[in-house]
């Protein structure tokens, strides 16, 4: 037996650099596009230059004759086998889903839609051949404006529908029994404020373009793809293409970012699989950045009509929300569910007695939308945090005072909200007080007053966002009540190897989050083994046979808990063997630091690694015990988790040019117990960059013909580190009571919280000039025009 090692130091709470970073950052790894298979063909996809048109004819003769070309396929060639790109979230029983061909057959409904595919011996030959395909289109009117799209007599996006409305999803607290009737709140309001906010369209812009390599093997198929959802894809690909599920293996190799952008099963994945099976050859498709921008799904794009009611003393009495949510041309995996997820977050941290939410999902001739970092929750948080500021102005109250008056106090948890969610824990007072002190709020307010008095051309604005979000997607029964097509559990397995090393298999497949490090820290503490002795395996359905993948800040709160349960099962079995080997009673054993010891008998111990070896040798096991030390666990959360925090932003606004510069950004997040504070900080920084980008920089813009004019990174303005301030981040730690780890999730917090903090700051700077709102992104030109209009 091996020597007894010292118990390792506590791993949970330790700021470790990530074990996966070296291969990810150097790129010496299996990015999908790095995969080479003998005999592999390369695909190129011809995309529609039209927003809305009938396909009259496609002539592929010349393209098929080009050098190196093996096949050219159009939608007509695969119409019988391609099925429809799956949507797993029929949010209402009468939701209209017109179907989503991977390759357009009779009509194109957005610029960038796939029309034909070329398979060639090289990527260059495939791309050259695209230019020889001749498509004759009959142009139709584009459908671009959501309100016009649902008006009488509007051009229909899809000829097989009677309206451009896909669904109306509604919730009302009086009817649901979770609160008072909204109509009474509206009728009795002492103060009513209404605003319309526009959530612009955003492009997820993950770093690694989407890429898929499909290997047909026998009557089965192995799909390597840069996806967030290998497990869901396996099932969906089986259902879509009629391949028996057990003949489909999906591998998500290292994946370079997703932000929700790699959540759906994509047309390109289906096309690559169809072509590979049809030709019996491995095929690779890797998109260009231009293709990614126009054909990978977009995010946000809502018109939000928000009405808030209150008493004169500032007590909120009701919130009435109507959304138009742009589905784009088609429904992808969770397209309709994104705004519905937001429905539960508009009331945020506040005690609204009455609430109504109505969302119309609308088809347009634009790229489909789907989940983008935060998915429904950033939209909701923006609306409530913006209108709280507007209400404060209407009441003549300090915006933070208004929030304090209405938020759930720390002693009131657990608290059941007006939409029926039970927030388990939180301390909004603590996070807010810390943030106010860190930014030097009172000094900034004094400086602001001085600059206003001096008529300084550069005005100072202060913005607040006191937010919460629902993470840890999700209790399966809740998803069932929302008509989602799957559950919200996660699976884990642990395999103790004879040498004492540990393999951990998780269904939560990472695409940059740091799972391998954080999960290793959890297992190290739980099993008392060294961090370095743990291997986290994921992203291959042949290794991780079940799982529900990575999105919605679920990996730690759900996937991490599955790992804890699996570890506990290993310990449970090891305890039986330890008792046998130590000739002690199981009940007399204690397990600590990887060692089983007999209570009251120091020196009589055995390590878990030695027990693993004992199960391998199997020379001396208790009767009836199988020779293995492995476990499986599937964890279904009982509740969501609810991270929260207070984000404060100070901006300088140059009133001559309209330029907004963030001077200071402070956030205090409460994500529960941090497993790895360094990863938490990294997630917050990245999230802030994306949330600030929505406030100030990014917008996908279509012209009047439905062309995406922001088709490159020259026109789609992504900020870089040079455009962002040095963030001041801090935490409060109120452990979640809904899971034993006390974790809440952090993947989306920065994105959700930051957008309204920045816009509130911009408006705060300009309010003395008469400006009440600026559409996002608050570009210098928009800010300048808002000032001109207010002064006119």
């Amino acid at each position: 037996m091996t020597a007894v090692a010292d118990a390792p130091a506590q791993e949970i709470g330790r700021s470790r650099t990530r074990k996966e970073d070296q291969h990810l950052i150097t790129g010496r790894t299996t990015w999908t596009d790095n995969i080479q298979i003998a005999g592999m063909l390369h695909l190129a996809i011809l995309r529609s230059p039209m927003a809305h048109a009938r396909i009259v004819s496609i002539d592929t003769t010349e393209a098929a004759a080009r050098p190196g070309v093996i096949a050219v396929l159009t939608g007509a060639d695969v119409a019988d086998i391609q099925g429809t790109v799956p949507c797993a979230w029929p949010v209402t029983p009468d939701m209209v889903n017109p179907g989503h061909p991977s390759l357009a057959v009779t009509q194109v409904n957005h610029v960038g839609e796939a029309v034909a595919v070329v398979a060639a011996r090289s990527k260059a030959e495939a791309q050259d051949a695209l230019e020889a395909i001749d498509v004759d289109y009959e142009q139709l009117d584009p459908v671009l404006d959501m309100e016009a799209a649902v008006a009488d007599g509007a051009t229909l996006v899809h000829p097989n529908t009677t309206s451009n409305k896909s669904f109306t999803w509604a919730f009302e607290s009086g009817a649901a029994g979770t609160g008072a009737p909204i109509e009474a709140a509206l009728a009795d309001a002492e103060v009513t404020v209404h605003r319309r906010f526009i959530q612009q369209r955003l492009i997820p812009a993950f770093m690694e373009p989407r890429s898929t390599v499909v290997e047909p093997i026998g009557d089965g198929v192995t799909i390597h793809s840069a996806t967030q959802i290998p497990h869901i894809m396996r099932l969906m690909m089986a259902l879509t293409l009629g391949i028996p599920e057990h003949k489909v293996r999906v591998i998500a190799p290292d994946v370079g970012g997703g932000f929700g952008g790699k959540i759906p099963v994509t047309p390109e994945e289906i096309i690559t699989t169809m072509v590979a099976r049809k030709l019996g050859r491995p095929c690779k498709f890797t998109e260009s950045r231009s293709e990614s921008i126009m054909s990978a799904h977009h995010g946000r794009d809502q018109i939000q009509d928000i009405t808030i009611t209150a008493k004169r003393d500032g007590t909120v009495t009701g919130l009435d929300v109507h959304l138009y949510a742009d589905m784009g041309a088609y429904l992808r995996l969770v397209t309709p569910g994104v705004p519905v997820l937001g429905a539960f977050m508009f009331n945020a941290i506040y005690k609204f007695p009455a609430y109504r939410f109505v969302c119309d999902g609308v088809f347009t001739t634009k790229t489909p939308t789907d989940a983008y970092r935060g998915a429904g929750r950033p939209e909701a948080t923006f609306a409530i945090e913006r209108i709280m500021d507007e209400l404060a102005v209407e009441l003549g109250m300090d915006p933070m005072e208004l929030r304090r008056k209405n938020w759930i106090k720390h002693e009131e948890f657990p608290f059941t909200t007006v939409c029926g969610l039970t927030y388990d824990s939180g301390n909004y007072e603590a996070a807010t007080d810390k943030a106010l002190a860190l930014i030097g709020w009172d000094d900034l307010r004094a400086e602001q007053a001085k600059r206003r008095a001096d008529n300084d051309p550069v005005q100072l604005g202060l913005g607040i966002s006191t937010f919460t979000e629902m993470c840890g997607l999700a209790p399966s029964r809740v998803l069932g009540s929302l008509s989602y097509g799957a559950g919200g559990w996660e699976h884990a397995a642990i395999r103790m190897l004879p040498s004492g090393k540990v393999e951990v298999i998780t269904g939560a497949s990472a695409h940059g989050q740091g799972h391998e490090t954080a999960f290793s820290q959890i297992v190290a503490d739980r099993l008392g083994v060294a961090f370095e002795d743990i291997e986290i395996m994921h992203g291959d359905t042949a290794i991780s046979h079940k799982g529900l993948d990575t999105y919605g800040s679920r990996s730690l709160a759900v996937g991490g808990m599955a790992i804890v349960r699996a570890a506990d099962k290993v310990i449970e079995k090891a305890r039986k063997i330890a008792a046998h080997l130590l000739e002690a009673n199981e009940d007399d054993l204690e397990f600590s630091g990887g060692q089983f010891g007999v209570k009251g008998a120091p020196g009589s111990t055995i390590g878990i690694g030695d027990i693993a070896l004992a199960t391998f040798a199997a020379h001396n096991l208790p009767d009836g015990v199988e020779p293995s030390l492995d476990s499986d666990a599937t964890y279904d959360p009982e509740n969501f988790s609810f991270p929260h925090g207070t984000h404060l932003c100070a901006v300088d606004v140059d009133t001559e040019t309209g330029m907004v510069t963030i001077r200071k950004y402070v956030c205090v997040d409460d994500v529960g117990t941090p497993i790895n504070p360094l990863i938490v900080e990294g997630q917050v920084h990245g999230g802030l960059a994306q949330g600030i980008a929505q406030a100030l920089f990014e917008e996908a813009i279509y012209d009047d013909n439905g062309n995406l004019t922001t088709g490159t990174f020259i026109d789609y303005t992504l900020p870089s580190a040079a455009d962002l301030p040095s963030f001041v981040t801090d935490r409060t730690e109120t452990p979640a009571t809904s899971n034993p780890l006390g974790v809440k999730g952090v993947g989306e917090a920065g994105t959700i919280a930051s957008t309204p903090a920045v816009v509130n700051a911009v408006i705060d700077a300009l309010r003395p000039l008469g400006v009440k709102d600026v559409r996002m992104p608050c570009t210098p030109e928009r800010v300048w025009r808002a000032i001109q209009e207010a002064q006119a």
């Binding site: 230019e131 920089f697 490159t712 040079a722 210098p780 030109e781 300048w784």
Partner: protein, 285 residues
């Protein structure tokens, strides 16, 4: 994406390059630093038959002293230009404006001559070349000629260079004592093109502005001089009020574009504000 196929040649001297340009005909393109051309090729917006790569021609590299001027080789990278001692001493406006071009990666590959000959009106260096009265040195089959900056920029992405000519160097008059300069760039994010930029050269004499030269970036199909503002500035006191009043003429005679980065009226407004700021900064007020 992958560019359409093309022939590639890499001459090792200016003479070889000029004959290669002549032989390749009008569908050839000269490849300098590639920071504009390669994206255009990859997007398949252009499909030249031949690329003539001038990266390895020693005569096109570096900065030399030429008496009352400095000569900047067309293939000198932005990174080299902004750090070059001759440029920093005799043409600080060029050093300062070059430091605002795109991002460090682009500045390490992109070239001074390449950016100017691409003649994108949103590029920063055209306005500077105009304000500094630079001369463009071109080599063709018939020999060398010099083109004044005022004559060089003909139209959008179009210069006075003939199809058979190669830009070899830019002759930059040394900024004389008594002049002060500033480049004021306005863009949304660090690596973006200028929405508007203003290159200002100002000569002070006895507490007033004796002479001003103002170059404008992205206020028309070519870089422009703000002639009305230059006239208005000449002779005014070095005071914030007087400079502001004179700068209010900065957009006169311009033809600002309207695009995703800004409508024409906003650009005109910016030209006035930025001219004022550029001049004030140049004179240290």
């Amino acid at each position: 994406m992958i560019p359409a196929s093309f022939d590639y040649t890499r001459p090792s001297s200016v003479a070889e390059a000029v004959s290669a340009i002549g032989e390749a005909g009008e569908d050839a393109k000269v490849l300098a630093g590639g920071q504009s051309l390669i994206p255009v090729l990859r997007l398949r917006l252009s499909a030249p038959t031949t690329l003539i790569d001038i990266a390895r021609i020693p005569e096109l590299q570096g900065v030399t002293d030429d008496g009352d001027a400095i000569l900047i080789g067309a293939m000198t990278t932005h990174h080299e230009v902004m750090r070059n001692a001759l440029v920093c001493e005799h043409a600080p406006l060029i050093a300062q404006a070059t430091a605002t071009v795109a991002d460090p990666q682009v500045r390490h590959r992109g070239t001074f001559g390449g950016a100017l000959v691409h003649a994108d009106p949103a590029g920063d260096l055209g306005a500077v070349a105009l304000a500094m009265n630079c001369e463009f040195v071109a080599q063709g089959p018939a020999g060398e000629r010099r083109i004044r900056a005022a004559d060089f920029f003909v139209d959008y992405l179009t210069t006075a260079l003939s199809a058979d000519e190669l830009l070899t160097a830019i002759r930059v008059p040394k900024t004389p004592a008594g002049w002060s300069t500033h480049y004021e760039k306005f863009n949304r994010v660090a690596q973006a093109w200028a929405i508007v930029g203003v290159a200002a050269m100002v000569r002070r004499e006895n507490g007033s502005i004796a002479e001003a030269r103002i170059g404008l970036t992205n206020m028309g199909t070519t870089p422009l001089r703000a002639a009305a503002a230059e006239q208005a500035l000449a002779g005014v006191d070095v005071s914030a009020g007087a400079i502001a009043a004179a700068s209010s003429h900065a957009a006169e005679g311009t033809h600002a574009p309207s695009d995703l980065s800004g409508q024409a009226d906003y650009r005109e407004h910016l030209a006035r504000v930025l001219t004022r700021r550029a001049v004030l900064t140049a004179v240290g007020v």
